[in-house]
Amino acid sequence: MTAVGIGAGRARGVLRRLGHELARNPTLTVGAVVLAIVVVVAIFAPLLAPDPTDAGNATHPLSVLQAPSSAHPFGTDELGRDLLTRVMYGGRTSLQIVVEVLAIAAAIGIPLGLIAGYFGGAVDQVIMRVTDIFLAFPALLLSLAIASVFTPSVGHMILAIAVTWWPWYTRLVRGEAASVVRRPYVESSRTLGVSHARIVARHVLPNAATPVLVQISMDAGGVLLVSAAISFLGLGAQDPTPEWGLMVSQGASYFSTQWWYATFPGIAILITAMAFNLIGDGLRERLDPKRVLSR
């Protein structure tokens, strides 16, 4: 058996398993494939985009607001910049936002939830009341309010949204931690002198991992829509940063005559959000303990 032969055999095995996954969980697969395309386009934008300089400050006064053509498949904006390029680069901005927001939110929310659920008592009450207050607001409104305090920029927007988002994770993890803590084997571990840290690491975290993962996948779409909305209102990304929500608002004033400007970024948001949501759905189907047990 040559090395090539073995490689080909493995590749075939992987493909077969992929085909199996597709049949078993079409939602997850479709979502993952679409997201993979978005990610690849975003990462390789500098190589794939027709006019990478148009992602920034370039101006081309001669090609202002041109309709879609073979030279500019998505048309151009009021500065003459190629919109296909800007939409591709917009993917980088959006993915960066989603990843950073969720990372910060999880970094704040999960430890707080662990502490609240594990130790209970007054600490729990205080943390949960604070959580309730934050959860008393729709995410968009609170993020807007916080973002409005700072000079608009992508970085500030990320912070604003992250600060709004962490309570969900706290509540989720707290529930898991609280239920695990009550179990007899945890109590006996404590009497044997096992440290809090070890118990959390060995018993609480593995149990909490699945719901948190599912929650993250379901949140990604929401974060994308909120960030696009904030940028649309002018409190997030600023020109020349290519961001889909910002581009829709920029295109809004030209919309009645130059339809392409606001349309394509909007489609990009829709497709990416759909991909995130499908992945979230698919993961929930697959990892939800209720379903797993009923198999």
């Binding site: 009341r129 309730d132 008393a136 607001f137 729709p138 309010a145 649309f232 829709l270 959000a273 759909m274």
Partner: protein, 338 residues
Amino acid sequence: MTRFVLKRLGLGVLVVLGVVVLTFLIARVIPGDPAVTYAGPHATPAAIAHARQVLHLDKPVIVQLLDYIKGVVEGNWGTSYRTKQPVLSNIGTALPASIELVVAGMLIAVLIGLPLGVLSARFASRAPDLGVRVVAVVGVSMPVFWLALIMQRVFSGSLHWLPAAGQYNANLYYTHPLTSYTNIPVLDALLTGNWAVLGSALSHLVLPALVVAAYPAGLIARMVRASLLDTLAESHVRMVRSLGFGERALFTRFALRPALNPVVQVVALVFAYSLANTFLVEAVFDWAGLGSYAANSLQALDTPAVMGVTLVVAVTYVVLNLIVDIVQALIDPRIRIQ
């Protein structure tokens, strides 16, 4: 039942109080001296000092907070720096417009989402199910501001079926002036028999309400489907089948009613979420609601106004949750015991 309500009410008040404190603290972070904003761009130092006194900014922070809370309870929510009018009356004019939009949107969402969800569950894994599921995913992934633009362009700009902006035709201010009781054009027109305004208000409501309805409709359809499928697997459904009831009876009563429980909970949450989306829709459709008021206030660094809006949103959310809890307890008698 009353103990249940009182307990929930108590918790709600606590949350609102917390929100007030939180917003107060956030407002302190907003850059810019409120006295300067209030006094205006060409104010003399004396005028600014006077403004500082009027706004009680010379007192310690804790006293300011307590004064504010006292004021809120009494009905004095401060004066808007921008409009120079009481914040509460500003909100009184702006809020009903948003409520009109959100309620219309939610009604449409339930009227569309519920039957679609039932249809989807009834024909699970077959064509209607797939169709509904795709539409629902589009609904919950749709950027609201973009949908608003598209709908406006297509139905108003191109097809000229529906008006593009505003709550009703401005010409009617003169020809058929509307007396405001509730500040909700549709309601006021209905109450005063002002049919011209009623027709105009309804036609202006259609597009924005449809846009607001997109997300909740998708969500409701998905939730109803999931909940129904879960309920169908339960043993009481087997018993009802063994008594001779068919699919229609199941999907209209025996399986549907228990399945609605989790859906009701979601509807309230979505109501609050939709309030946020209405702000975006208001921007596109030039709707004089709370969203526009909030946007203008934020831009003008109008602290009392921003705090007023925040308070209203928080109270709305708490009240909504309370209503949901009560409705749930009514639908599902098991909850009352808790």
